[in-house]
Amino acid sequence: MRDVVITGIGIVSCAGEGLDVHLEALSGTPKTDTEAFAPYPVHPVTALEWDRQIPKKSDQRQMEAWQKLGCYAAGLALDSAGAKEDVALKNRMQLIVAAGGGERDYAVDGQILSGLRAAENPGVFLNERLMGDLRPTLFLAQLSNLLAGNVSIVHGVTGGSRTFMGEESSGVDAIRIARERIAAGQDDIFLVGGAYNAERPDVLLIYEMGGFLWKKPYQPVWTRSSEGGGMILGSAACFLVLESREHAEKRGAKPLATLAGVASDRSRRTTGSVEKALHGLSQQLGGKPDTVISGATGVKGITDEEQAALKDIAPGAAVHATGDVIGHTIEAQAPAGVALAAGLIAAGKASDALVTSVGHWRGEGALRVTRA
């Protein structure tokens, strides 16, 4: 099996743009907006100059926020890997995106819901309003695989393109499958990542139905359980360039870190299942982590189980929660965790890092990042 290394990272969030600001933010408090969607705090993404990574205004207009964030971060990752100007390389580069989708026209939805109450024939009313009021291009801004499509269009990454869905697990599995394909020699180089826009009422709605949202001022994920627990969603995107060590050497790219292993599974969630799953996954990965980048959500129960598991798995390790840097970013959480781990390793501040991803509702993952 071939070694798989990380040669490019692009990340944007409430902490700012690029890896360095995110490493600095590991010791700070994330920027939080408690007003816009009160009572739900969110971690809003920093203001970006879209033109820098998405040069054409026409492309920007075709995307909704989550796609623009992802496209922007993908561009940063290609820059960081020294791949942006290499047309031939991008032509054979494989793409796996972990995506949700959606984004709606909130005003139109509200008007339709208000009108439906008095409509003589609600079905016909709905047809007429949707036909008249939906922007045709909104569909493309909603489709899950169109983040990947936009990365192909804007950045010319066209080897192959796959989109995984399924919340947090999709981010772990996107990285896992890219790694396995490289390790087995099925492909040489991948662009992998995800993007999330938290500043939208429709996603808050889904998670509020499930009772998963934190409704108080920001607190670190580990301390929320005593007050009921909950997650604060964050707007962010993160992409990684992964390739075989030989491939990186051959093109003169400097690896930031090695992606030593990825393990994922889904436990039947009962008391203790997350703790047990994390033990099992970390055993598959081996290693003696000196650093943990946790994807903990802050949701009561599972966050406490993770904390307990980490004490056994990585005693004495420095533990950082991605949620306390960028918020909870669902599909983008695992890529962002790997980015932080690789950044610490490249900076000489860690040598064997465990990245965890315990989904808010299902799915557990663990990733191991080691020195290049």
């Binding site: 024939n121 709605l205 509702w361």
Partner: protein
Amino acid sequence: MALRDKQGRPLVAVTGMGVVTSLGRGKDDTWAALTAGKSGIHRINRFPTEGLRTTIAGTIDFIDVEPFCAPMLSERLAMLAAEEAVGQSGLASGDFPGALFMAVPPVEMEWPQRQALAEASGQTGEVTYKDLLKAAATGRFKPWHDLFIFGTVADRVADRFGTRGSPISLSTACSSGATAIQLGVEAIRRGETDAALCIGTDGSVNPESLIRFSLLSALSTQNDNPEGASKPFSKNRDGFVMGEGGAALVLENAESAKARGATILGYVLGCGEKGDSFHRTRSSPDGSPAIAAVTEALSDAGLTPDEIDYINAHGTSTPENDKMEAMSCTAVFGERMANLPISSNKSMIGHTLTAAGAVEAVMSLLTIASGRIPPTINYQVPDPAIPLDVVPNVARDANVKYVLSNSFGFGGQNTCLVFGAEPKGA
């Protein structure tokens, strides 16, 4: 016979298949109707169609789920197809010894649920998302979180069949079903698993999804004669017709399949994929990405273009796709394209979107097994710009050893698969 291909990789056998379409439940019913040239397209009666430009679809109306919504119907279609496939394979039905790769339609909450939340909020003036959030906070709608997140359909299928590991939910738009199969093939080839359950499912014909496609002018508006609306490769084609369906394939390492005495239904010999950066909904005018995907699938299968006996087309019946597909195939197959049979199942079942690649994989393998090529129906007005042997209107008997199945999708997705009765040289 060697159980590895020429590149030394494990051969990937198909040992179980299941399908549900508007033509029927189970592959026997669907295949009988498909080879009889029967259409499953009809007027939509699931919801009012007044005010719509398109009022027809290949909905599956003989299956009911509660609450009726895309994820519930998609889950049910997947379950039915997988029960048939796993049953045929002879593998344990609740303890499947491999991974799940599942193409699912991107879901979101639908209008009946939004309306219920709006009502529960008690808001009598203008409704906003603030009101819906207020209703959500009551905790009364908790099951809808699970129902409308993206990983749930695959999770439930994984539960039912006991597949191993983290299930993969995926979307590559209209090539999703083919991508599910491709992921399974890759996992078996790299020795990660000896079996994979690959599924494509789509039960998403609802007002908003139909209207979204309609607003992109992608749908046929020839509503007067529903059975005649989907006319792939015809001069008077005017768009696709939405369809619903589910299909499942059990893929196995041929060696372990033989070792357990399984009946091998055929092989997935090659996969090809190429992204397109030209446009969000249109293909590169020179067809180069589709050509690359076809070429890669053939070379992955170790076949030359001359060895393909039949093409199961993507054939959506949109002016753009059929022209591009004909051009790309002609570029690869040359003059032979005038006589190489190419037919579109979508003429009868419509475009089953996320499921299409998987449904058409099953039909491709049944074509090989039965020696009968399903027709392209509604082919009354040939398009002189794309002279093809579309197996017009009536099924045809032929000796088919190798099939190419094409899938193309919005977002520059191009995925092609090659199926065979036996690996080459066996």
